[in-house]
Symmetry: C2
């Protein structure tokens, strides 16, 4: 699909699927109908379809929020509700979505081990939860840059990213239309939207980093919170004393927000104003229930810089700030790297859990090597799957264009799918209940030569079908008991069907003999026969 074509309908991407909803809260699911009469339900991030983007999605949370206002609530934070024992609609919604009890959701939110990013000004949201007892989530970055891209592009990128399974999106826009772009995205986003408010703050001061201050920053936060942004990346851990620790790095400071704050600190010879005024930031965010994504401004940008003193000094500070945010009932997740070789990944998870009191971890990859620009969705999917299996709650995607250029539609899809793979592989590794159901359904379809089911159960049915049809285009091949890889004579699955029949016949014939032989079938064979 080229850039300027309108998006295809959902049914083109997911044949034999339909959107259904569960329970009185109408929790979205996708139902895949199989040719053998079975159905499989999958988690669905695609949101309501067929709405005019200029009008936005229906405000499904509006009544829930209105009730809380009516009863006189002043603190709308999910953490606040959870701590006083309340199970909100958002908690019930995610409990159904995750197939767990609402009490588990409440307890995880109350303890800070999970968050539901859900600004009260974002009523279009279909709530979701980020925490290590739940499905591993993925984030897709969208947002224009000063160099290229338009608002319409960004809304389409949003819809495209959630079609393939993005659980949240971050709007990283830095251009002139930053406010309007964000408004369009929020009004059309059934998923939480995150931002990095320092970008807009810097726009306000004409790009002069030294002119940033807390009053300006709080004004930007208020504007974005009013619009409905669900989580803010805030680089409050880039403390002045840590900056010299980056001086000998191969790639210095690679976080945009981190480098802005570092420059401000050094220019003024003062401590980071986000750190010194952290309480005021918390107070503002509490009023809307905006969650923190505490930014890792000093994350390593190369294998050489992984797990260094600067990175871990900042992590300690993020843990300190987590406790402050929790005093305000503000939900927190912690951002993590970056570029990390495989053998250093676990230390990141272990130290994060310890330093940050089990607040959810949200990592960018990590990339496990620097040598493959153009393929960093793969270098990072390896690290993402690993750190996800160790307990990271959300994985920020990386596209093939990382380090090189702006992702287009194909890149967004490639990034999201690579990360769905990583997240799902992690769910399997964690033994998440029900995670294997789709793998098993697909493998059974594969073994039984139900080609259409194999395609339709996959993350990307159109591509799977197209790859099959590239070699065997005829419709009859969709029911054939072989494929082009081996051809009819050598198909192992076909031979296995025969073997299985023989085994089953053999097993009934020989059952007694088998038992007598101590588990060795056909004990008449010599024991060490290979020297024949």
């Amino acid at each position: 699909m080229t850039e300027r074509e309108p998006l295809s309908p959902l049914s083109t991407s997911f044949p034999s699927s339909r959107k259904v909803s569960a329970g009185e809260l109408e929790v979205p699911q996708r139902e895949i109908a199989l040719t053998n009469g079975e159905v499989l339900h999958t988690y669905d991030t695609t949101g309501p379809q067929g709405h005019d983007p200029a009008k936005g999605l229906p405000p499904r949370r509006a009544a829930w929020i209105a009730r809380r206002v009516a009863r006189g609530d002043r603190n709308f934070s999910q953490m606040h509700c959870a701590r006083r024992g309340e199970i909100t609609e958002e908690m019930r919604f995610v409990a159904i979505r995750e197939n767990v009890s609402p009490e588990l959701v409440r307890d995880e939110i109350a303890s800070g081990r999970a968050i539901i990013p859900a600004n009260i000004r974002h009523p279009e949201l279909e709530p979701m939860i980020i925490g290590r007892k739940f499905l591993v989530k993925i984030n897709a970055n969208i947002g224009n840059s000063a160099v290229r891209s338009s608002i319409e592009d960004e809304v389409e990128k949003l819809c495209w990213a959630i079609r393939w399974g993005a659980d949240t999106v971050m709007d990283l826009s830095t251009g002139k239309d930053i406010h309007r772009t964000r408004e369009w995205i929020l009004r059309n986003a059934p998923v939480p939207v995150g931002t990095v408010p320092i970008y807009q703050a810097l726009e306000r001061v004409g790009g002069v980093v030294e002119d940033l201050d807390i009053e300006l920053f709080l004004a930007v936060l208020e504007e974005q919170a009013e619009q409905g942004v669900d989580y803010f990346t805030i680089h409050a851990g880039v403390r002045l004393p840590f900056i010299p620790l980056t001086a000998d790095r191969v790639t210095g400071i690679v976080s945009r927000g981190g480098s802005i704050m570092a420059k401000w600190c050094l220019a003024h010879h003062r401590e980071n104003f986000l750190y010194t005024h952290f309480d005021r930031i918390c107070e503002l965010m509490q009023r809307y229930d905006v969650a923190f994504s505490l930014g890792d401004g000093l994350r390593p940008g190369s294998i050489a810089d992984a797990n260094d003193a600067a990175q871990f000094a900042e992590l300690e500070t993020l843990g300190e700030l987590t406790k402050v945010a929790w005093e305000h009932d503000v939900q927190v997740m912690i951002e993590g790297p970056g570029h990390v070789p495989m053998h250093l990944i676990r230390e990141n998870m272990d130290r994060q859990l310890e330093s940050c009191h089990e607040a959810p971890f949200y990592t960018l990859g990590p990339l496990t090597t620097d040598i493959a620009p153009g393929y960093d969705h793969i270098t990072s999917a390896i690290g993402a799957a690993m750190i996800g299996s160790f307990g990271t709650s959300m994985l920020c995607y990386v596209t093939p264009k990382e380090h090189l250029g702006l992702p287009d539609r194909d890149d967004v899809k490639a990034g999201v799918i690579a990360y769905k793979i990583a997240a799902h592989a992690a769910d399997l590794a964690k033994g998440h209940p029900g995670a294997r159901e789709r793998d098993d359904a697909l493998s059974r379809a594969r073994f039984e030569f139900r080609w259409d089911d194999q395609f339709n159960l996959s993350l990307d049915p159109e591509t799977a079908r197209a790859f099959h049809d590239a070699t065997l285009p005829h419709e009859s091949a969709k029911t054939a008991h072989f494929c082009s890889m081996c051809g009819p004579r050598f198909c192992s699955m076909k031979i296995t069907e025969e073997v299985r029949d023989m085994v089953q016949r053999g097993l009934s014939d020989k059952a007694a003999e088998f038992a007598a032989g101590g588990g060795e079938l056909y004990p008449s064979e010599p024991v060490e026969p290979r020297r024949g």
Copy 2:
């Protein structure tokens, strides 16, 4: 590049690179010239260029082998030489290639912990080593099937696969021209070539599995060994008593060779003839120094079947056969799965090392989920990187077409690059000496905005450059101190340059104060300032 175009010259794929050779054995390397005057040498699998495929490559090993014949050798196995203390040319060659001592190579070969697959009838070979103290290697499968493909296609696929870094290729052809295809591939292969001889044996008996026998099989082995095949996959571990263990699997037996042998065993109610006549197979292979790749015919074909009784029963048998092969001085590696969720991967490695006496492990992926047909190069690169970091010596690639169709040129490249990433990530994780050099060089280039160097140091310079140019096509952007991802104002690397300057000025100004303040720069700042 479409299928029918001739391959582009190497210089198109790798600008600013040239082939060089090291030492009197002329060990190939690729030298990448950087714009700052530095050069980087990389391992090079591309082989001699510009030869007529109909004539084949120059026989660089011919003189080495002739000398051994002249001195009256009867046993040509590298293991035999190593065990009597000899360092062959092949061992010296790989020692230079890996930047290790020839003695280490010899000792690893002698112990069976590494192999140099190098048939004396394959003089065109540039020797390479497979073992866990050396760089992790990757294999690419080529070979036609009954359904499609031609001989010319296969030789081009070989050249294409080694261009991107395949260390060995397996010719899995099953069609009519099986002998001639293999001849073309071998005469043009600077890398070891592996085969699965049971496929040709089955051709010989018209596809009637029951008609297979050891005499026929040995005749096929002899034919292929005479041609110069360097390693044989032989499914001698698919023992009769293990077959019923697969009856309750979700995907039964997915190995083609495994299913053929299982069918034979059950049809005759007899033990696998490859097992019962294993000594005769060893005797033949010793004469040519063909290495075993002991096939995992019972590998799991789905997440559900991973690490089951059938798989591990076979693994035990492969260990038993390893000892027999070693008695004949025949080199051995052990094939491994397949489909394995992340949390079960380490057990595969640990059990393989124990059961198979540290013979090198050679795994297919493993795929870490079943739900992404069309993207199995990614599902499996995750598992491959992990098992590589645990000690697997060679990774068999998986292309995006796995389970769906025949890989074309783009698929072969995508598979090889995904596996170079996995292998290199594993080398980094193992702390392989020198592995990080390329990462660091690329990261320095990135940080210093040497765009051309960043492209040229990458695994796929053409793609990296094209991705960059998609957003910023002008030549001036190749020296610009920003990229399209952030634009000029927000480039973190650019800001970091400024930060670094400030830190360096600040450090000299404040050095004394810093030391006095116990490591906290600017100690005049309040200690817990955030509550401002």
